[in-house]
């Protein structure tokens, strides 16, 4: 396999994506809303709570955290404890959900989009192997999703620190296992989802069918993603590394299966 051809395919797809403002603009708006507006409003509301009953309930939430994390927050004001818990742990699924949405939307259209535009014929006749084509398409769907995750973490960090850190000592976020989660667990997690959806895209007959099918598998993927994020953030650093390894293996197997099941006939929509 030539990595050059796979990256050529990925670059061409990314260039097309960049040129499709009608596609990426709504996704960018969703990402901005989820990473900036929602946390800003919620954190601001929580950090300014004065009602003692509500504060007591918020501290109960903190009580659900693992013991080492609770110790870290010991002695800080209740509203700060609640903000920390909310910011660092309960918003974690957002960081997986939004990139997964971005990557799923792109990957659902990869092969079926080529077929509907008729450009699949060009790829089918090209010297690129089916594995190179598959990997190229996978990269093209994975990069925007992961870039959204990284950008989201940066924006989210800025929001959290601006709102909450002014009342605590030092920077509040990213903290704990977040670095491991974002840099080690997230790439294979998105890769796993993309590998499955790209494979579906090579099998179905229309863009609408691809969206339907990807929606069907999106729900279990989101549940898995939620579990993975919780396990890696709430557990120890070792647990986070192990979760990452398991996710990498699962993603590797999904990619291998997807690459081997793609045929040139499928690029034309005539595969079995």
């Amino acid at each position: 396999m030539s990595g050059g051809r796979a990256t050529t395919i990925a670059r061409a797809d990314l260039r097309q994506l960049r040129a499709s403002r009608d596609f990426w603009l709504p996704l960018a708006v969703i990402a901005l809303f989820m990473f900036m507006v929602v946390p800003a409003v919620m954190l601001w509301v929580i950090s300014t709570v004065q009602d003692p009953k509500l504060l007591a309930k918020l501290v109960d939430v903190v009580g659900r955290l693992p013991a080492p994390l609770r110790e870290r927050l010991h002695g800080t004001p209740a509203e700060i404890q609640a903000s920390y818990t909310l910011a660092v742990y309960f918003f974690a699924p957002l960081v997986t959900l939004v990139p997964l949405t971005v990557s799923s939307s792109i990957s659902a259209n990869t092969f079926v989009g080529e077929r509907e535009r008729g450009s699949g014929e060009f790829l089918a006749h090209s010297p690129a192997s089916t594995r190179e084509i598959y990997i190229g398409k996978l990269i093209a769907a994975l990069v925007p999703g992961y870039a959204t995750a990284l950008g989201g973490v940066v924006v989210y960090s800025a929001v959290v620190n601006l709102i909450v850190s002014t009342r605590t000592d030092g920077v509040l976020f990213p903290a704990g296992n977040w670095w491991i989660f974002v840099l080690w667990v997230m790439p294979p997690l998105i890769g796993l989802a993309v590998a499955l959806i790209v494979s579906i895209s090579s099998r179905v007959s229309s863009g609408a069918a691809a969206q339907q099918a990807s929606s069907l598998i999106a729900l279990p993927i989101v549940i898995v993603a939620y579990g993975v994020s919780e396990a890696s953030l709430f557990g120890s650093a070792t647990a986070a590394w192990v979760v990452g390894i398991v996710t990498w293996v699962a993603a590797g197997l999904a990619i291998r299966w997807g690459a081997s099941s793609l045929s040139r006939e499928r690029l034309l929509g005539i595969g079995s």
Partner: protein
């Protein structure tokens, strides 16, 4: 260069190719003629290994295109599909660069400039392909197909929907490629454009070869008799043709139409008339058009 022997390919209940055979040699233009659904597109796809054969032998540049050598074979083929298969959201230059990089072309900007100039699309390279006319799309698809200097050019209905000027560019390319010793396979159902271009004509129907050969060979095979148009200073003197032993039929309405039983007898006819004192103004053996040939073959098929 291309050898298909008894190739059969089914898609469910549909038999796209049914024992189809084809031999393509370098420097020749092979035209696959046939109605829609005859199996022309499938034949092209079998040649590049995009579609495999259920039965039969496929050898392209000495190898099986669906085997491990398939990538190398495809790298030496240039394909213009029935739909131009371009990327509308990219501009013309980006479309060509994509292909150049996939085919491993050296000196990408140089080759793109050369191909674009050849097909007169230099000024349009910066525009998005979505805004191209049908003719411009065809020219861009052609530029893309020859960027890597292929040894085998496969064109599937390349002039469909084109204006005469663009169609001429396509036919010019085919001639040029054949002159350079490349092999060209063109699928069409437009008989006029194949006329005079094809070194080999393959008439297909329902995945089968009805006849194959050069136009003159097919003419000899299908019309052993020949019709000659004759005119003379005194047309009435031509009536003596009717009595000649090798003349099958004779009609005169102004000039005469004489049907001979064999092409070899054209010279005998002229000799006989001149010997009889007829001063000839015109002797024109009539060659059947490809269209006549096609419909005759289809009628017999």
């Amino acid at each position: 260069m291309v050898e298909l022997i008894g190739v059969t390919r089914r898609f469910g209940e549909i038999v796209a190719l049914d024992g189809f055979s084809l031999v393509v040699v370098p420097g020749e233009v092979t035209v696959l003629l046939g109605p829609n659904g005859a199996g022309k597109t499938t034949a092209v796809r079998v040649v590049t290994g995009v579609v495999g054969a259920d039965q039969g032998t496929v050898r392209v540049l000495g190898e099986d295109p669906t085997g491990p050598g398939g990538q190398a074979i495809r790298a030496r083929c240039g394909v213009v599909p029935a739909r131009p298969a371009l990327y509308d959201r990219l501009d013309g230059y980006e479309n060509l660069r994509y292909a150049a990089e996939l085919y491993g072309v050296a000196d990408v900007p140089g080759r793109i400039a050369q191909a674009a100039a050849r097909f007169g699309i230099v000024d349009a390279l910066g525009q998005r392909v979505a805004g191209y006319s049908t003719g411009m799309r065809a020219r861009l698809a052609l530029s893309r197909a020859v960027l890597h200097d292929p040894d085998l050019l496969l064109l599937d209905e390349p002039t469909a929907g084109l204006d005469p000027e663009s169609a001429r560019v396509v036919l010019g390319l085919i001639d040029e490629m054949a002159d350079q010793g490349k092999a060209v396979v063109m699928c069409t159902h437009l008989l006029l454009e194949a006329e005079g271009l094809a070194d080999q004509v393959v008439v297909m129907d329902r995945g089968r070869t009805l006849v194959a050969g050069s136009a003159s060979e097919l003419t000899r095979r299908l019309w052993p008799s020949v019709t000659v148009v004759i005119d003379a200073e005194v047309p009435q003197m031509l009536d003596r043709c009717a009595g000649l032993p090798f003349v099958r039929s004779y009609q005169r309405n102004g000039a005469a139409l004489v049907e001979l039983d064999d092409r070899e007898h054209v010279a005998d006819l002229v000799d006989a008339l001149v010997a009889g004192g007829v001063r000839l103004l015109r002797v024109e053996p009539r060659t059947p058009t490809l269209e006549e040939l096609y419909f005759t073959v289809r009628g017999r098929g």
